[in-house]
């Protein structure tokens, strides 16, 4: 299945881009996506092992099962206001 990952702020600096599209095996979870990303580059290895994520704009735990076409946003600590 195809998963779109979004990176913001300090995580975008690590990814070197705001968006990556990856192909994952069926029944992958958010944790699997994180592991795959952390293994993909020297800087993305600096992504926390348990980052906050939003799946389709809803904050979701790492055990969340992904479905084809999901959008996973990696959310560094927020600091609005």
């Amino acid at each position: 299945m195809t998963i779109r990952s979004l990176f913001f702020a300090s995580y975008r600096d690590l990814a070197g881009t705001g968006e990556l599209v990856l192909t994952l095996s069926a029944s992958s979870t958010v944790a699997d996506l994180v592991a795959q990303l952390r293994a993909s580059s020297r800087t993305l290895a600096l992504l926390p092992a348990a980052p906050a994520v939003a799946v389709n704009m809803t904050y979701a735990p790492l055990e969340t099962a992904l479905r084809d076409g999901d959008e996973v946003a990696f959310i560094p600590p927020v600091a609005g206001g």
Binding site: Y59, A60, P61, T64, A73, I75, A79, G80
Partner: protein, 127 residues
């Protein structure tokens, strides 16, 4: 935006300060996951309106570069009673800081810029 039954209007502005934790700041940069930030803000406003019976709440948050003295966020609340206006206004700013996907990079006089640490939003749904 107030109606004739509103007895209190409260406007809050968050403003860029010239210092943070002892370091001199000469500007800020806000980045947002815009679509999600708007959805989360709408949710927070709806929660506040229901909890305090407040009819009118408006929130604006700027993104991009801001100078010292510029407002980054504005929250307007009109309510029949002042207690509810204060509570609702405070709720909106605290929840905004807690879970709206907006990030802040500070530019310092004495060195490079840095993304600021902040709140880690909690999952909203079970796995």
């Amino acid at each position: 935006m107030a109606t004739p039954s509103d007895g209190a209007v409260l406007l809050f502005w968050g403003v860029v300060r010239n210092q943070n934790e002892g370091r001199e700041v000469n500007g800020l940069e806000y980045e947002a996951y815009a679509e999600m930030a708007e959805a989360k803000l709408r949710g927070i406003v709806t929660e506040a309106a229901q909890r305090w019976g407040v009819g009118e709440i408006a929130v604006v948050h700027r993104v991009g570069k801001l100078n010292v003295g510029e407002a980054s966020v504005g929250i307007a609340v009109a309510a029949p009673h002042r207690e509810d206006a204060y509570e609702a206004s405070r709720y909106v700013i605290e929840e905004l800081k807690r879970r709206v996907p907006i990030w802040k990079r500070e530019h310092y006089l004495d060195g490079p810029s840095a993304w600021l640490g902040g709140a880690v939003p909690e999952p909203e749904v079970p796995a």
